[in-house]
Symmetry: C2
Subunit: 383 residues, 2 copies
Amino acid sequence: MAAAIPHGTDAVLERVLIIGTGLIGTSIALALRERGIEVLLADRDPEAARVAADMGAGVPAPATPDEPADLAVLAVPPPAVAAALLDAQKSGAAQVYTDVASVKGLPLAQAAELGCDLAVFAGGHPLGGRERSGPLAARPGLFLGRPWVLCPTAESTEAVVASAAALALACGANPVTMDAVEHDRAVALISHAPHVVASAMAARFTAGPERALALAGQGARDVTRIAGGDPRLWHGILAANAQPVADVIDAVARDLAAAAAGLRAAAGGVAAGGAEPGGVGAARDTLDLLARGAAGHGRIPGKHGGPATRHAVVPVLAADRPGELALIVQAAGVAGINIEDVLIEHSQGRSVGVVELAVAPESARRLIEELRARGWSVPVAPA
Amino acid sequence: MAAAIPHGTDAVLERVLIIGTGLIGTSIALALRERGIEVLLADRDPEAARVAADMGAGVPAPATPDEPADLAVLAVPPPAVAAALLDAQKSGAAQVYTDVASVKGLPLAQAAELGCDLAVFAGGHPLGGRERSGPLAARPGLFLGRPWVLCPTAESTEAVVASAAALALACGANPVTMDAVEHDRAVALISHAPHVVASAMAARFTAGPERALALAGQGARDVTRIAGGDPRLWHGILAANAQPVADVIDAVARDLAAAAAGLRAAAGGVAAGGAEPGGVGAARDTLDLLARGAAGHGRIPGKHGGPATRHAVVPVLAADRPGELALIVQAAGVAGINIEDVLIEHSQGRSVGVVELAVAPESARRLIEELRARGWSVPVAPA
């Protein structure tokens, strides 16, 4: 059952202890169970461990372990990692230990301070998640194809690194090794700062009039989607990665203040210039910011983890009723065309909507013909 | 062919002139054609009008009009509206005029300054769009179920208001009346400022190392999606609505600067407080910002335009191959369950992915049973 792992050793994962059965811990447990690995579940809230067990994620761990597990996974928020590691090591819970917190530097420093045995610890961070939290939101495929950063230290034994990598592979993730500093800066940029920025934009919506909010569409929804996450959980993450996150959001704040000054100046209001607080960027044009934004957006990898893939999007006018979508995608399936993504635009109080099918560009023409032949309206230009 | 319209009059839309055949103008033209309304197409770039005509959006307008159209639609960027209106009125292009620019105050002021006949003009703004621009991205359903703001002035005749409303209804949109000031503040909040905020976040990605960007996932993609729009087009929009947009992004910048100061203070760095530029909000806790963000996010209406609807999401493990999605949604259709949304999570280099089906909460249990009965793995807890 053990997955093949790097480093030339064979890490045996036959029995894994999950400490913390929230979204991440339970998702890992479910993935391990799909591979037939024995999973023990522990949570400071016994009801959460019970729910995870009921979902088929494993069995509740006994109060005192019979024998150490092959690996213990600390699936607790960043501020709780060090204490959980100390507790687990004191009770001899496992042979080696890893965690899954989205911050790596501070928990490590705290663990060292508490006197944990860092030789048998290698931190990890699977890059997957969702706005919903708790075991009920868990799913075994949460980390499929996603990066899983491993942050071993110079002290970490080969055995713990191999076990942590085997865990990542067992969950279908791609292990990547970084040191804690590089990791924390990276996630500040691509995850933590975007969360604060989304929150700061969404916070403006608390004061807006109902009639204004009623005009909001997919753009406003997308920009602020992650702001729907649990504020307490996220506050803990941000506080544990404070400096790198502050650096990024300070830079965003400066660019926004400069853009506002530029817009006011263009509107003939107060002049932008050296008097701007922070003194940075007031001369930078809003157009320049928009151009940098478009360039930066283009650097985000696509869903498949590689460089952003360009799909052709085929729109279809479809009745908003059960079975209609099935008929449409069935037509694609019959033609041997793989649908990469589906976007359904409903229409308020109407019986028709637009279904957009993303397919490989070379398949688009064939899909359009197939759908038109079956009577659907596909409003695109002829080739 | 004329749609029913408010104001108790019957506006006849038999012949409409579209001036500007980009995304918005061509989408309107396609919607009108679907209702059998005659459409004349004009663009300062004859090739763009040609493409729109080839898409079935109408016929190129003659250089000098035979007789005035019932309505001319100025589908040009905000800074170009007033001049286009003057030109059209000089040539007697139509009996009444509307526009579709996303800013309403400045074009109106400019039109008054140029001496346009404002009695036969009523501004409009359909709240729909996409990142792609140009006639090829157009589709007749772009405004289905979306709000379409009408901004008549005290000068506007009943006839022009009725015609503009009839246009909105013919495109499947919901006409809403506001004055220009209220409109411009509303779109600054829910559209223009989010665009700048997304750009400012995405601009950070221009400098990030490749290994950091490789960790980015759906969160980073969503926050910055609209930053992929055309910088020049957006710069024109922002400049035309400068003051309201600057007010919102200044407030966002202050919240971000305060959050950064709060994080640095929590990390034991420099203290946050009165010395912070702007002097506002440094005392506000990051947690408070996150909580306000979650609350504001919750105020965005759902896809259907009403209050955000809660759907149940049913995850299914599915093979990544043609026909698989068809079989899954077919199973839902057979059970009479309407699928509200589909999210496909691919996995890099693997043959399995997760398909998430959003359905009405009361249908979830039945869908899960249906799918499991047909052999799919549906990783959710038993009820």
